[in-house]
C-alpha cells in the first residue's frame, strides 16, 4: 500500500537555511546544498523548500540556487516562495522541480492556480495555507509570512484551493511552528475531512511519535517538519537527521 510520507521542510532566507519559531526569529542552520545532499543520502520521501522572504520582499525565486538544489535531488522536490506568474512556474519546472507551492499569489488571485494546473496538471501545484488560532478559538488564514490576518476560514480556503485545481494542500500552524510541541490535530483533521486531495501537515513536530500519532489520529497523507530534522537535543544544536520508522506503522 501507499506509504505515508515524511517530508523535511526547509526554509530559505538569503541563500541560507533557517528555522523559525512561530514564523519569527529565523536562526541560521546551514548551507542548503549541503543539507540537501545529506537528506538525499538518507533517502527522504520528498523535500519542501520554502523561501520565506521572496514574497515579502517582492522578489522572484532564486532560480540559480533552485537549479543547484534540483540537480542534487533524486527525490521529489516542492518549491515555494515568490511565485507570482505562470512564467515563474515555467522556469521552475524547467529546472527540474516537480511541484510548486503557491500561497501569497493565490490569496491575491486564485486564477494563478488554474493556469498552472491546466498547463502542468494538478499534481504539480500545492496550495499552501498558514493558519493561526484567534483569540476566540477559531482559526484564520494568514498572509505575508504570518504577518497579515486575512480573516478567511482555513476550511473554506482549502476548499477554494481544491476547486481551483491544487493537487495537494499544505497546512501550516503558525502557533506550533518551531515549538516542537506536537501537531495541531484539530486544525489538521478539519482540513483533511473537508477536501479530497492529499493533505500535508506541518508545524509542531517534536518527536517521531508526533508523526506516528498524527497518522493514527487523522487521514493525513504526509507530515512535514523542520526542527525535528535539523535540531538535536534541548539546546537545539544543528544536526540533520531523518527517522527510520517501521513501514508497517505508517500504512
Amino acid at each position: 500500500m501507499l506509504r505515508k510520507r515524511i517530508i523535511p521542510c526547509l526554509l530559505l532566507k538569503d541563500r541560507g537555511l533557517v528555522k523559525t519559531v512561530k514564523f519569527k526569529d529565523p536562526k541560521y542552520v546551514g548551507d542548503p546544498i549541503n543539507a540537501i545532499r545529506i537528506f538525499n543520502e538518507k533517502e527522504v520521501d520528498e523535500l519542501i523548500l520554502l523561501d520565506i522572504e521572496a514574497s515579502v520582499l517582492k522578489q522572484e525565486p532564486n532560480y540559480e540556487l533552485i537549479a543547484e538544489v534540483a540537480g542534487e535531488c533524486f527525490m521529489p522536490i516542492c518549491y515555494g516562495g515568490g511565485i507570482k506568474t505562470l512564467a515563474h512556474a515555467d522556469k521552475l519546472f524547467a529546472l527540474g522541480v516537480e511541484k510548486i507551492s503557491i500561497n501569497a499569489a493565490a490569496l491575491a488571485d486564485l486564477s494563478i492556480i488554474r493556469e498552472i494546473a491546466n498547463k502542468y496538471g494538478s499534481q504539480s501545484v500545492v496550495g499552501s495555507i498558514d493558519c493561526k488560532k484567534s483569540f476566540w478559538g477559531g482559526y484564520t488564514v494568514y498572509a505575508a509570512s504570518g504577518s497579515v490576518d486575512t480573516k478567511r476560514s482555513p476550511v473554506e480556503w482549502a476548499r477554494a484551493l481544491e476547486g481551483a485545481g491544487v493537487g495537494e494542500i499544505f497546512i501550516n500552524s503558525i502557533d506550533r511552528d518551531g515549538t516542537q510541541k506536537g501537531f495541531d490535530t484539530t486544525l489538521i483533521d478539519s482540513i483533511v475531512k473537508s477536501v479530497h486531495v492529499p493533505v500535508i501537515a506541518c508545524g509542531g513536530a517534536g518527536a517521531v511519535s508526533d508523526l506516528t500519532d498524527l497518522f493514527e489520529q487523522t487521514n493525513v497523507s504526509a507530515v512535514a517538519a523542520g526542527s525535528l530534522f535539523v535540531f538535536h537535543g534541548k539546546h537545539r544544536a544543528v544536526l540533520i537527521s531523518y527517522p527510520t520508522i517501521d513501514i508497517a506503522s505508517l500504512r
Binding site: 500500500m1 506509504r3 533524486f74 521529489p76 516537480e98 496538471g121 492529499p198 487521514n219 497523507s221
Partner: protein, 205 residues
C-alpha cells in the same frame, strides 16, 4: 547515446540528471536525426493525456518514433504520462495513444479513504522476471517508487504486465512488450531504486 524526447512536456531535467548519475551518455532533443541515431529512447510526460498526445503530434515526431521503436526495435522507456501514451486510449480523454502496447488507460474509481491522485511511495511486485528488474526487489528490502497519477495502465494481454502495485486494489505499475517499457512511477525521483532501473535500462542490450 540515449535521447530523451523533448516534445515540450515532462520533467526532462530530472531524467537527464539521473542518466548522468548512472554514467550514461544522454541528451534531450526534438530533432529527427538525433532520434534516428539514438540507441535508446526515453519518452517522459506529465499532465493530461490529451494535452500530452496533442503536443507530441504537433512536434511531428510520432512517425519517426514509431519507426525507430516498432521497426528498428530500439528500446524505449515511457515514464508516467509517457507510459500511458504507449497505449491505445485513455478514459481521461479522447485522443488516440501511440498504440505500441495493447492497453487502455483507466481511472482509479473514487473510494472511501482513498485519496486521488495516488501520490507518494509505493512498493512494487514483480509480475515476471526480466533483466530490467535486476538488483531490484530483494525480499528483505522491497523496492519502492514515487508515483503521482489518477489513471493507470490496463494491458489486455497479461504477459505485458511487468510490475504491479497495491492502492486499495492491485494495478499495473509497469508494462513491457519486447523493446517497449512503460513505468507509471517516476524512476528519476526514486532514489537508489530508480538509479538501479535506469542503470538496467542503460545496460540493456
Amino acid at each position: 547515446m540515449i535521447v530523451v524526447v523533448d516534445y515540450g512536456v515532462g520533467n526532462i531535467a530530472s531524467v537527464l540528471n539521473m542518466l548522468k548519475r548512472v554514467g550514461a551518455k544522454a541528451i534531450a532533443s526534438n530533432s529527427r536525426s538525433d532520434i534516428e541515431s539514438a540507441e535508446k529512447l526515453i519518452l517522459p510526460g506529465v499532465g493530461a493525456f490529451d494535452a500530452g498526445m496533442q503536443t507530441l503530434r504537433k512536434s511531428g515526431l510520432v512517425d519517426v518514433l514509431t519507426e525507430q521503436v516498432m521497426e528498428k526495435r530500439k528500446p524505449v522507456m515511457g515514464i508516467c504520462l509517457g507510459s500511458q501514451m504507449l497505449g491505445m486510449r485513455s478514459e481521461e480523454g479522447s485522443e488516440p495513444g501511440l498504440g505500441w502496447v495493447d492497453m487502455d488507460i483507466v481511472r482509479f474509481e473514487p473510494r472511501e479513504h482513498r485519496k486521488i491522485p495516488h501520490m507518494g511511495w509505493n512498493e512494487i511486485v514483480a509480475a515476471q522476471e526480466h533483466p530490467i528488474l535486476d538488483g531490484l526487489n530483494g525480499l528483505d528490502n522491497p523496492s519502492r517508487f514515487y508515483f503521482v497519477h489518477s489513471y493507470y495502465m490496463s494491458p489486455r494481454d497479461e504477459s505485458n504486465i511487468l510490475l504491479s502495485a497495491n492502492y486499495d486494489q492491485l494495478f499495473t505499475a509497469a508494462v513491457v512488450k519486447d523493446n517497449v517499457f512503460g513505468f507509471q512511477f517516476h524512476p528519476e525521483k526514486s532514489h537508489k531504486f530508480g538509479m538501479q532501473l535506469f542503470k538496467n535500462f542503460v545496460e540493456l542490450i
